[in-house]
């Protein structure tokens, strides 16, 4: 019985190779794979090729079903997670797509460069849609550094930079140019072409002076070279979008540098009121309080920040210094160890 079944599967699996050599025979191949898999549902190679063929025919729901089965059998199969995530993206199951694309990155994609690039791009646009703008931007900039063509990245970078939770396909038609400008400017900054960035920012501000995000982005750009102008732009942003917590925190951070601790503390508290689990807000608050010699409350805020986001090196540095000044040598030592751990190449940042 078993031998007969194996022979049938073998015959079917040999047959599919012939149709695949010819164009427009994918339907036949799909049918043969399905027949073989009906006989042997755990045939991993068959599941993979069936999924690839269905993906090629843009049958994304079917691809998802097949890949789900495959990853259940082979949970370390990075490419299968990738195909699953991309298919789910196409069927607009975005949360699941993001989870599975992240899993693909964890499991690895071998030498499949093209697939890896797709996974990075889909992951980054989904991170933006789920309001994880900083993570999205890090991924996009990593793609730039690894030599990805910049054009497909312009709109994703623009969306993450202006912090709008849309996919490129969801950009409002009347403001597509604004997102493109933001993307081009951010890419110019990344490529260390500040004059080009300045020029694009100028055009963007002239065309979209009242859109939330625009003054924030320009302000952040200016903070390095012209901090006073940068602060002005961030304040303008907060006039237009008074609840832009990222602008508040960036401004608070600048105030810390300028030793305006009261203003920094107030901005951090504003953000915490709006977003009680905002790790960076607690970090800025902690830094401001420690700087104002309120070490006890400062440490409490920094510890909250550490709890909310344990992998932020800056928080551990802050705590190391704060513990040291409070005479808590043992705690300071632990922070130092944690910093060293986080700086190791294998640490998940």
């Amino acid at each position: 019985m078993e031998g007969r079944k194996a022979r049938r599967v073998g015959k079917i699996s040999r047959n599919w190779r012939q149709p695949r050599k010819k164009e427009n025979r994918d339907e036949d191949a799909i049918r043969l794979y399905q027949q073989a898999l009906a006989l042997q549902p755990g045939w991993k190679e068959g599941l993979w090729y069936l999924g690839v063929l269905e993906f090629g025919k843009e049958q994304y729901a079917e691809t998802s079903d097949v890949m789900r089965h495959l990853v259940a059998l082979e949970p370390k199969a990075g490419p299968a997670w990738a195909l699953l995530g991309i298919s789910e993206f196409q069927t607009r199951a975005y949360q699941r797509a993001l989870d599975h694309l992240q899993r693909a990155r964890v499991e690895g994609l071998g030498d499949r460069q093209e697939l890896a690039q797709s996974v990075f791009l889909y992951t980054s646009v989904l991170l933006t849609r789920f309001e994880q703008y900083d993570d999205a931007m890090s991924l996009l900039m990593a793609m730039v550094k690894s030599g990805s063509a910049p054009e497909p990245l312009v709109e994703p970078v623009g969306l993450a930079a202006l912090r709008y939770p849309f996919l490129p396909a969801e950009i409002p038609a009347d403001r597509r140019e604004m997102f493109r400008m933001a993307g081009e400017a951010a890419l110019a900054v990344e490529a260390q072409r500040p004059q080009e960035a300045e020029k694009i920012f100028g055009s963007m501000l002239a065309a979209y002076p009242n859109e939330p995000g625009v003054h924030f982005l320009y302000g952040v750009f200016l903070l390095d070279s012209h901090p006073e102008e940068g602060v002005k732009e961030l304040k303008r942003e907060l006039e237009l979008a008074p609840f832009n917590t990222t602008a508040k925190l960036r401004l608070g951070d600048e105030y810390l540098k300028e030793e305006h601790y009261d203003e920094a503390e107030q901005l951090a508290r504003d953000v915490i009121k709006l977003e009680p689990e905002h790790a960076s807000a607690y970090m800025v608050l902690g830094e401001a309080l420690v700087a104002k010699q309120d070490v006890k409350q400062g440490i409490a805020a920094l510890e909250t920040s550490r709890k909310l986001k344990p992998d932020t090196v800056r928080t551990h540095w802050d705590l190391l210094r704060a513990y040291s000044s409070a005479g808590r040598a043992e705690d300071a030592k632990l922070e130092k160890e944690e910093i060293e751990r986080l700086r190791r190449p294998d640490a998940q940042q």
Binding site: F166, E170, F243
Partner: protein, 384 residues
């Protein structure tokens, strides 16, 4: 042939040097090995064993449950449905499985059955842990939105927002329901994304009582999409939530300039007028809403109430009678109806309705299972 495969696989699993002469493993052995495999996270092996276990003993509820549960966890929603259905048939405590089955049906696009099974789950008291309550409640609300039952959907989503905060998925769901877009997050037009997002943010923050933040998003929504259907209606509902009746009425009027046949806007305009102590102003929009959407319980209720407030007790009782038929669990309908009967000298009827009101009052506000609350809202007319 397919049915033979589990047995073949099982034979392979148990195959040893002397397998040809061994007797088949007992049900107890299979069940024990299945549980051991599951607990050791060898889920594919567990699936095979559970499937063999239920073949040997079809009444084995745990076997069906774990089979369905593992497949659900693997996102294999089509495959999970059969074992979950078997579990429902053989288990003495099947209730949580209704929610899992409904979720599987949602994921495979079988929306009508998903709605039925969510309702069954609610009838059993919506049992389950926090995670199940959150996921099931969220998906049920999505389906209610798709059905055009926007108010109950918002009722459920607002409760989730109060518990979980402004999560992106909740925001999108609230945006759709707030703008009365009868669609799922995965199939509404991409060009509506910003409008839905802004409405969702305003709705979520309103339900969190973060009113300045809600106002900020609502202001952006109006600035960018003030000419789109239901945007002014939604703005009105935010004002109504804050009991700013004049501002609310103004927004509903603006909505009616854009979509004159918008029954929901007519109903809420009438509500705002009645609540704002201008019942005469409520009569015309309420009457029109009833004509446009005759199966809308809230429309009949507010028309009946406006008639009552303006002294037309006979007509009021008629309208409230229709509202009662459409929403028999609504305490407020019974309350006004009781008063209308009193004015008409129908003491026995008034007493009966008063008793019904008292019986329903607490239940409606506190104790009613979710499905009863949902039934108390008649389906709103689809506007899109």
């Amino acid at each position: 042939m397919v049915a033979v495969i589990p047995l073949l696989l099982l034979l392979l699993v148990f195959a040893g040097p002397s397998s040809a002469t061994d007797s088949p493993p007992s049900f107890e052995t299979i069940a024990k090995k299945a549980d051991q495999a599951r607990q050791a996270d060898r889920l594919n092996e567990a699936l095979t064993l559970y499937s063999e276990g239920v073949r040997v003993r079809p009444s084995w509820a745990d076997g069906w449950w774990w089979q369905g549960s593992i497949l659900y966890d693997q996102d294999r929603f089509a495959d999970a449905q059969a074992p979950l259905k078997h579990f429902l048939a053989v288990s003495s405590k099947p209730a949580p499985a209704f929610a899992f089955l409904a979720l599987c049906e949602y994921e495979t696009g079988d929306y009508d059955h998903a709605l039925q099974h969510f309702a069954m789950w609610a009838k059993h008291g919506s049992p389950g842990n926090d995670a199940l309550l959150d996921v099931a409640g969220y998906h049920w609300a999505l389906l209610l939105t798709r059905e055009g039952k926007f108010n109950p959907a918002l009722f459920m989503l607002a409760a989730k927002a109060q518990k979980l905060g402004a999560r992106p998925a909740l925001t999108e769901a609230m945006g759709l329901a707030s703008l009365r877009v009868a669609a799922l997050p995965e199939n509404y037009p991409a060009e509506k994304r910003e409008e839905v997002w802004l409405a969702g943010m305003a709705a979520v923050y309103s339900s969190l009582n973060e009113l300045p933040l809600s106002e900020d998003y609502a202001g952006r929504l109006l600035r960018l999409y003030g000419k789109e259907t239901n945007v002014h209606y939604f703005r009105g509902t935010l004002f109504s939530f804050q009991k700013q009746w004049d501002s609310a009425a103004e927004e509903y009027q603006k909505e009616l300039e854009i979509s004159p046949e918008n029954a929901a806007a007519l109903v809420e305009l009438a509500v705002a007028r009645v609540e704002g102590f201008e019942p005469n102003e409520a009569l015309a929009p309420a009457k029109r809403s009833v004509a446009i959407d005759p199966e809308n319980a809230r429309a009949h209720y507010i028309y009946g109430r406006a008639l009552f407030e303006t002294g037309s007790y006979q007509q009021s009782a008629q309208e409230l009678g229709v509202a009662k038929r459409l929403a028999p669990e609504s305490a407020r309908v019974r309350f006004v109806l009781s008063n209308a009967y009193k004015h008409l000298g129908r003491e026995q009827d008034a007493k009966r309705e008063q008793a019904a009101f008292l019986a329903l009052k607490d239940k409606e506000e506190v104790l009613a299972p979710l499905d009863e609350k949902l039934n108390s809202h008649a389906p709103a007319g689809r506007t899109q």
